[in-house]
């Protein structure tokens, strides 16, 4: 289905769920209103709680529902929705305080008011903490794994306190229809957490992989290959990614997303090219072959198979961003693709180009022009290639006249992605022909 059509459908579903408790209030018999602003404040509280609940669904990685968009964009949606719901939830007490400033003391001195009132304050404080820590996780240097585990636990706490707050105060929650809808939302939430923490890991546990090969690559990267153990693995589109767990149980949530660098393989073998960047990636080189691994995939919409109508493909890679490109180029070579393709790879030096020789070797099987752009070209020998950065002028020089019919895949550091998008726009490429992956998901 067209991503815009399914996007519109899913957004309607989202709004339907979030606004359902408010809608039911209009239909069900409820106690007399406390006035317009009172109702608005209550409505924001109810909508805020359902938005919090649906946040769990967005990151539950439902493959079929997220497939049209790419799960990276769903994670981004989760993040921005968190800011939006924080604003809406902050408005809930703000309106009450503006209406009656004396209420402020109930919020500031939570120990003097009934527990169900302070539960609201607790929920709000937790929410502020969760959003703040997540937004500034990198500047605060909080490692990914402890953050991820506490993110889930604190989020459950925030929703839990919000439910205690709402049902404890019990305003507008007496009607059977209203209670039914909240019970439904509550149970769905429990079911989602159950699915994410228990059912999915359990399924992964029963479809294990083993590490078949670990090879050093250029630029502090490693090629890590896994093979399915006792099953046929999974099918994927070249360019997609998967969450990898090595040496840990899938229940521990020690998993990391990596692009698949190999092409779809009938025996289910999957190769990742992993750069040493964080706590986990620095240990990849020490993983002995035979180690059990769990692979949750495929995810993402960054694939040539989503755009088969292209006149050819242009791959723009920065650093380790070459990995998904490699998957796509290998697939094209194996399919005997006769179109002409381009690969632009931006790197610091000649010795720091992951998959350098493998990409160059593909030129034998594929009509592929490889353009290496080096920040520091080799000094000792004559460097015939490009220097500096990938610029608009450079792209203009290489790209063929029918460039508008090509599809462009960009993967690399965020500033590079932004620059490439701007250059391609200036070169007259339709935005629909330019594809990126939000690699920095969390």
């Amino acid at each position: 289905m067209n991503p815009f059509v399914s996007g519109a459908i899913w957004l309607s579903v989202y709004l339907g769920i979030v606004l359902a408790p408010v809608l039911v209030l209009l239909l069900a018999p409820t106690p007399a209103s406390g006035g317009f602003w009172w109702d608005v404040s209550m409505g924001l509280g109810y909508a805020g709680i359902t938005m919090m609940a649906v946040q769990f669904v967005l990151t539950a990685r439902f493959k079929r529902a997220t497939a049209p968009f790419g799960i990276d964009v769903i994670y981004a949606f989760h993040r921005y929705l968190a800011y939006a719901l924080l604003v809406l939830i902050l408005l809930h007490p703000t309106i009450l305080v503006i209406r009656d400033p004396a209420q402020l003391s109930a919020i500031l001195t939570p120990w003097t008011v009934p527990f169900e009132v302070s539960a609201g304050t607790a929920s709000l404080l937790l929410l502020l903490f969760i959003v703040g820590v997540s937004a500034f996780r990198k500047p605060l240097r909080i490692p990914y794994e402890p953050w991820r585990a506490t993110h889930l636990l604190l989020s459950i706490g925030a929703v839990g306190f919000a439910f205690v707050h709402m049902f404890g105060i019990g305003y507008y929650t007496e009607a059977a229809a209203v209670q039914a809808i909240w019970v439904l939302i509550g149970f769905s939430l429990v079911a989602i957490v159950f699915y994410v923490r228990l059912l999915r890991p359990w399924r992964l546990l029963h479809r294990p992989f083993r590490v078949a090969e670990v090879q050093p690559e250029l630029a502090e990267s490693w090629m890590l290959a896994v093979e399915p153990l006792g099953h046929e693995g999974f099918d994927f589109e070249p360019g997609q990614f998967a969450w990898l767990t090595v040496r840990k149980s899938p229940f521990t949530m020690h998993e990391h997303p990596f692009s698949i660098a190999s092409s779809p393989d009938p025996h289910g073998r999957i190769e990742f090219v992993i750069k040493e960047l964080g706590d986990f990636t620095r240990t990849v080189g020490q993983i002995p072959p035979g180690t059990v691994a769990y692979v949750d995939g495929p995810y993402g919409s960054f694939s040539i198979d989503r755009h088969p109508e292209a006149a050819g493909y242009v791959f723009l890679a920065g650093g380790i961003g070459i990995a998904p490109m490699m998957s796509m180029m290998r697939a094209l070579a194996e399919r005997g693709d006769a179109r002409s393709h381009f690969a632009f790879a931006a790197h610091s030096t000649w010795d720091r180009i992951p998959l350098r020789d493998q990409v160059l070797a593909l030129r034998k099987e594929l009509d592929l022009e490889v353009v290496h752009v080096l920040e520091e070209p080799p000094e000792e020998e004559e460097w015939g290639g490009e220097e500096g950065w990938i610029t608009k002028e450079l792209l203009d020089r290489y790209l063929p006249p029918e460039r508008a019919d090509y599809h462009y895949f960009i993967c690399g550091p965020v500033p590079m992605i932004r620059a490439m998008e701007a250059f391609l726009k200036e070169l007259g490429i339709e935005p629909g022909n330019v594809h990126t992956e939000l690699f920095d998901m969390v």
Binding site: A32, A76, D100, Q103, S118
Partner: protein, 139 residues
């Protein structure tokens, strides 16, 4: 528009739609019975055989204090207000002195209770409020 911006724009617009939908809810919810709190006064008077004798100026002032202090944020009378802590019948359960303590020093009547103390109110307001609460006999 890149994917990140698309996600941001969609999320913020979704939040905006929800906000406007809630405003609409505020307009549509009980449009006829906006601010039903004044109806309490009539139901309180009706509790008594002789409303005119029971309801005097002091009680009326207490009723004004009840509204000004937004007591219905936490309490309900005759089903109006927050149903969590109904006040119907408090006059049967507590004496005037105890009702006064509930208002100004709840810890004295019920140690550890989490209820705000309205000890900042002028004495006349407290006495008026207690007089008003004294009307709340079991229906």
């Amino acid at each position: 528009m890149n994917r990140e911006t698309a996600a941001a724009v969609t999320a913020w617009n979704t939040g905006l739609v929800i906000f406007f939908a809630v405003l609409l809810f505020g307009l549509l919810n009980h449009p006829g019975a906006r601010d039903a709190v004044p109806a309490i006064w009539d139901s309180v008077a009706e509790l008594h055989d002789d409303p005119d004798a029971a309801v005097d100026e002091v009680a009326e002032r207490g009723w004004a204090v009840y509204q000004a202090e937004r007591c219905s944020s936490c309490h309900a009378i005759a089903g109006v207000g927050s149903p969590r802590y109904p006040l119907d019948g408090v006059a049967d359960r507590w004496s005037s002195e105890e009702l006064r303590l509930w208002v100004v020093d709840p810890q004295e009547v019920s140690p550890g209770v989490r209820k705000r103390a309205y000890d900042h109110l002028p004495d006349e307001d407290v006495e008026a409020l207690v007089t008003f609460l004294g009307l709340l006999i079991e229906p």
